[in-house]
């Protein structure tokens, strides 16, 4: 059954931000172990390599300026939950005529 995203909350370094979007993504570098023993039209084989740390990307409405390079406790709670120590790897904030001050940031969990 589908789950609504309403109720997701985001907290970083003790501050709760008013978020409009939260995106969590994991990735892993795979090593290509494909060899000649694989039949024609067969599939490539991969083995796990280094795991890329989990990334959390948020969009928020607030005049809070987040600084890249800052680390702190991060937690997402609500329809799904993750938590851990995170480092802000990228942050931006801006304002346009008739709009809210909006920001976005990317965090990497340790």
């Amino acid at each position: 059954m589908a789950v609504s995203a309403q109720g997701l909350t985001f907290t970083f370094a003790g501050s709760t931000l008013t978020v409009t979007s939260v995106q969590v993504s994991d990735s892993q570098d795979l090593l290509d172990a494909t060899h000649l023993g694989i039949a024609p039209n067969g599939k490539r084989e991969f083995v796990g390599g280094f795991a890329t740390n989990r990334e959390v990307q948020i969009d928020y409405i607030s005049s809070t300026i987040l600084t890249a390079g800052i680390s702190g406790a991060m937690s997402v709670s609500g329809p799904f939950a993750i938590s851990g120590t995170a480092t802000c790897s990228a942050a931006s904030i801006g304002g346009s005529v008739g709009d809210f001050v909006r920001g976005s940031a990317t965090f990497r969990l340790a």
Binding site: L31, A33, H35, L36, G37, I38, P40, G42, V47, G49
Partner: protein
């Protein structure tokens, strides 16, 4: 239209030199195989009389006289592989001699060979891989 080598099987089983029968075999996932065919052994029979300097011979200037002896020289098979769990030290194969066979839907090689050299390397972020060179002794 090209041909694929996918679906190949590679086997090498040999024995170490000496009176005791010690069998060794290759364990690994082959990712590449290259065969350097033996070269024809050629004798250079070009005489000093080329160009008619001595004794008026009829060999023209600039033409060598090469005669195949009927024998072969060289010839090698190089196998590149990814190390498999359980694959031992490739040095244990070096100096062994035995039968190598590579069979794919498009290509077949079966030769008697001597395992001449082997190398392996491990690098961060990569699988352990190696290379073994076999010297052909079977020229037929």
């Amino acid at each position: 239209m090209g041909v694929t080598a996918q679906g190949a099987t590679f086997l090498y089983t040999g024995r170490l030199p000496g009176p005791a029968f010690v069998q060794v075999s290759f364990v690994g996932s082959v990712v590449g195989l290259s065969v350097q065919s033996p070269q024809a052994e050629v004798a250079d029979m070009t005489g000093v009389g080329v160009g008619g300097v001595f004794r008026g011979t009829h060999d023209p200037v600039g033409h060598a006289v090469l005669v195949p002896t009927g024998s072969w020289t060289g010839g090698s098979v190089t196998v590149d592989y990814l190390k498999k769990p359980g694959g031992g030290d490739p040095q244990s194969l070096v100096r062994s001699y035995g039968s190598l066979s590579f069979a794919s839907p498009s290509h077949n090689v079966t030769k008697t060979v001597v395992c001449e050299s082997a190398s392996e390397e491990a690098r961060t972020g990569e699988l352990v891989k190696g290379s073994i060179t076999f010297r052909l002794t079977d020229f037929t």
